[in-house]
């Protein structure tokens, strides 16, 4: 008889960690966009905090994804989707990392004379990062819902339960 696998296994760390950057970075983009038209410090500072926290969590998600990759790839019917997921995840993380650096420039008034352009660059990076984030999420979802990546499939008669 099959035994039910432990929930706390390497492949579950990725889905557990991946939703933090999705939420944090989407709200970072939202807050930073609103801060362009609003004078409220909440959106500016809140956006910065969300951006930094989201970027850190994105790199954690990449780390856990990398751990799962070695196990999951051997069982997928189309690992090229996983490769795209991985490549776009790196692009997303680098775009938000660059955005975080630019945001710190603004915060510490580095390049103050170019403030307008720097702000445009920040929004451009956030827009690019957010677009990539959507696509990475979509690819991740197809891996799970079309190829059962990292998912335990119960036996036909559920004897292990």
């Amino acid at each position: 008889m099959e035994t039910l696998p432990d929930f706390w296994r390497t492949t579950t760390f990725h889905p557990l960690s991946v939703h933090f950057p999705i939420v944090l970075l989407l709200f970072a983009f939202l807050f930073k966009s609103i801060s362009l038209f609003s004078t409220k410090e909440t959106f500016k500072l809140g956006g910065s905090i969300l951006l930094i926290a989201g970027t850190i969590s994105a790199w954690i998600a990449i780390y856990t994804g990398n751990l799962a990759d070695g196990i999951v790839s051997r069982k997928l019917c189309d690992p090229t989707v996983l490769k795209d997921h991985e490549n776009f995840a790196f692009t997303t993380a680098w775009l938000f990392t660059a955005a975080s650096v630019i945001d710190l420039f603004i915060h510490f008034k580095v390049l103050a004379s170019l403030k307008k352009w720097i702000n445009y660059l920040l929004i451009l990076l956030l827009l690019g990062g957010t677009s990539c984030l959507f696509y990475v999420g979509h690819l991740g979802a197809t891996l799970v819902y079309q190829q059962a990546a990292g998912v335990y499939t119960p036996s036909e008669h559920c004897e292990e339960f």
């Binding site: 990759d69 070695g70 790839s73 051997r74 997928l76 019917c77 189309d78 690992p79 090229t80 490769k83 795209d84 991985e86 490549n87 790196f90 692009t91 993380a93 680098w94 775009l95 990392t97 660059a98 630019i102 390049l111 170019l114 352009w117 660059l121 990076l125």
Partner: protein, 103 residues
């Protein structure tokens, strides 16, 4: 403005580094090529074939690795080594059946 240019260049470099590269799917068969990358912790190798295709191969329990006809350990695999790989295509996954180190 000079600094802005530097940021743009750095950003472009980031994008190139971040985008990674695509791997290819080929039909079942035997291919010769060079090892592009070895990921020891995942027992995985990337092989560039003669026609410039990149094969991503995860070793399975059934994969045999040999040199001069004798079985060798995965740690013998190094970048730029010439190898001959026999792969089986399952869906779009390439399972390495055998890997021969040619040099």
């Amino acid at each position: 403005m000079k600094l802005l240019k530097m940021i743009t260049v750095a950003f472009s470099f980031l994008m190139i580094v971040a985008c990674g590269e695509k791997t290819d799917v080929v039909e079942s068969g035997t291919y010769q090529g060079k090892i592009k990358e070895v990921e020891a912790e995942k027992t995985e190798i990337y092989v560039t074939t003669a026609d410039d295709k990149i094969l991503e191969l995860y070793f399975t329990d059934e994969t045999t690795l040999t040199k001069d006809g004798k079985p060798v350990d995965f740690s013998m695999l190094k970048e730029n080594q010439q190898v001959e790989v026999k792969v089986e295509k399952t869906g779009n996954r390439l399972d390495p059946i055998s890997v021969k180190i040619m040099e």
